[in-house]
């Protein structure tokens, strides 16, 4: 017996609205379909009406977890357009926050993976230890989520010696706990039984479907923007690109845990070699006409911002390619012929950040192939028509 089960747009496994329609036969998924667009916020359009400075805070809100990656990516691009270079101390602090953010994001992901697999104790413990890095971030920047530390030409806040020592001390705790989770995650039979062999993505598929970030690295594709196209000061920082060959969800877990270790090393390097000097330089308000593509390695993978300047203090166009968008194709292919029980795990394994990936939708007429523009009034009419059809029995009030 085949039937469809809707996962989302509201579902306990998903923290954000996205809709997956699963055609299942018993416990086995036969077909998967993805529907996006529940959380489109018009950020790119809005960015055209804000100055570069204001846009930093706007791009920060593209994502709630990798907020710093988006501002870093944006600020790098705009700094190139404005022809300013952030001072070295400023850059060190910028990428220090970036690595701290990676630590918090990966710890968060570990907890989420535990929760999706029904391992709530693991979830509680990883999130408890994540508080350590959240507190550090709060002390550096004044906020737990939106650090707002980047500005054009550097960073906005400096750290003092006390804070530097404190971060170095906390690294010890974090390292010990991460080692423990590595041992635990690879040993608890019920957990490993859920992760191993689930959601296989071969190396060829990962390349063909353009997977990025830990998803690709877990399939043996050693791709990391920090090393392949070093931005900022990453060229001088020693670190390894972590990969795994098991190609499954367990591999993605292992890659993330290993990356945590690399991030601790990077943080330690940055703090030990922190240069003196100013943290920011003055940046002009207007950019000369031109365009730039800026990339950085967000915790979830490669993040791309395209910025076009037209000589005013506002960008003419901002285009954001969030890493989740690149990973959707790889995920959908994995779901087929899996079990219902694996849906949350496979989907969570790319660490989806759904509202980051929501972009403008262009509707294309299936018959003529022409793109159509749908007006608000059309939408209303369609909704009313549909509501009229459905609610013959009860008089449902149409919200529009």
């Amino acid at each position: 017996m085949k039937f469809q089960i809707p996962i989302g747009p509201q579902h306990p496994a998903l923290k954000e609205p996205i809709s997956l329609r699963m055609t299942v036969e018993g416990e086995v998924i036969r077909d998967a379909d993805l529907r996006l667009g529940y959380n489109h916020r018009g950020i790119e359009k809005l960015a055209e009406e804000r100055t570069y400075l204001q846009n930093i805070y706007l791009t920060e809100r593209i994502c709630g977890i990798c907020s710093h990656s988006h501002t870093t990516c944006f600020v790098q691009g705009v700094e190139a357009l404005l022809e300013v270079v952030a001072p070295r101390r400023g850059q060190f602090l910028r990428y220090l926050v970036a690595e701290l953010e990676r630590v918090h994001s990966h710890l968060l992901w570990l907890g989420v993976a535990g929760h999706e697999a029904g391992f709530d104790s693991f979830f509680m413990y990883t999130w408890r230890d994540r508080e350590v890095v959240m507190d550090i971030l709060e002390m550096i920047s004044g906020n737990r989520v939106h650090y707002a530390i980047n500005t054009l030409g550097g960073v906005r806040r400096d750290i003092d010696e006390a804070l530097r020592t404190k971060i170095l001390d906390s690294l010890g705790i974090l390292r010990a706990r991460t080692d423990y989770y590595f041992k635990l995650g690879a040993n608890e039979p019920s957990f490993v039984g859920r992760l191993a062999g689930v959601g296989r993505l071969s190396k060829e598929d990962a390349l063909a479907l353009c997977a990025v970030g830990p998803t690709a690295r877990a399939s043996g594709v050693a791709h990391d923007v920090r090393r392949d196209d070093p931005y900022g000061i990453y060229g001088e920082i020693p670190f390894e690109v972590c990969t795994a060959d098991s190609c499954d969800v367990l591999g993605r877990t292992v890659v993330r845990i290993k990356e945590l270790g690399q991030s601790y090393n990077i943080i330690e390097y940055l703090l030990r070699n922190l240069p003196d000097g100013p943290v920011a330089v003055k940046a002009p308000r207007r950019a000369k006409p031109g365009e730039v593509v800026s990339r950085d390695e967000a915790p979830r993978g490669e993040n791309i911002h395209y910025i076009k300047a037209n000589g005013s203090d506002k960008p003419e166009r901002l285009k954001v390619r969030a890493p989740t968008l690149a990973n959707y194709a790889a995920t959908l292919a994995r779901l087929k012929n899996g079990f219902i029980a694996d849906i949350p795990l496979i989907f969570a394994a790319i660490d989806p950040c759904i509202c980051c990936a929501e972009r403008t939708v262009e509707l294309i007429d299936g018959r003529s192939g022409r793109p159509t523009v749908v007006r608000w009034s059309d939408l209303r009419r369609r909704a009313a028509r549909r509501a009229g059809r459905v609610s013959k029995k009860r008089n449902v009030e149409c919200p529009l």
């Binding site: 089960i5 306990p12 018993g26 999706e116 029904g118 509680m124 408890r128 957990f191 219902i340 694996d342």
Partner: protein, 323 residues
Amino acid sequence: MSALKTLLYVFVYPGLVFMFVYSTFCEWFDRKVYARLQNRMGPTHTGRWGLLQPVADFFKLMAKEDIVPEKADKTMFTLLPIFGLAVVATAMLLLPVWHFNPAAGGFNSFSGDIIVLLYLLSLPTIIFFLAAWSSTNVFSTVGGTRVLTMFFGYEVPLFLAVLSPALLAGSWRLAEIARFFQAKPVLLLVNLPGFIVAVICVQAKLERTPFDIPHAETEIVGGTFTEFSGKKLAFFRLMTDVEMVVSSGLLATVFLGGFPGGLVLGFLQFIVKTLFVIFLLSLLRAATSRIRVDQVVSFAWGYLAPLAVVQLFFVILLKGFVL
């Protein structure tokens, strides 16, 4: 006078009031232990140390709107929670703690009551399946089939594990089994593998992690209970709590030597031993991750059933050659 006594039995002790109080207490204990194992606080605010939280949850749910889906089988949907609660409440009466008439047995202690108790503990599973099926939701349907699939996995090992002490004691009456082991406590050690199997099976019967598959929230939302709300959900929750008390009472009777010592001391033993079993269940819940339904069946038939069979053979040999 005797009518009054009967009423007291039915409504106060060991009837509804006591059942409600003790099962909510056990839920509190389970939640608190689970939370403390996870370095959290658990319920703190309602009542002293949050003791009244499960009671508050129950009454809150009772006051909530009660929605019956349009396509559901209304009679089944309404009757099943009440029926389920009645079943587990009856099962609770069979535990040999309530000394109505210790010498002669009586309506709640007779030869074969262990079978009746096991049967009454199987019924909730069927009720969950029917409840899921009659609510016609896709998530419920998937949950319902998972309930049944799991049932085929854990039920046989549970029966085998529970029956081996009965064989050793040579009686089908819970009170007598308990008395046998009270006389020879050393023999309790023989049943240790059976106890482990039984604890795992009870965990599966109660649908708690790692066997919370029928209502795995990250996969199939509420699973079996997706469409249940208000009073019906409150009844189902109370039913699960009572089931937890009954099954831990059963394990305490057959594996931990029952509850000797008369009315008061026996009752204290009952509390301590059931809480110990519930503690083990909480620890198991905290230490594991949910597994897949196919893994349950292969685990139950690959490990639990053989272990229970070995235990059974060992008991038979022991009884034949040593005792």
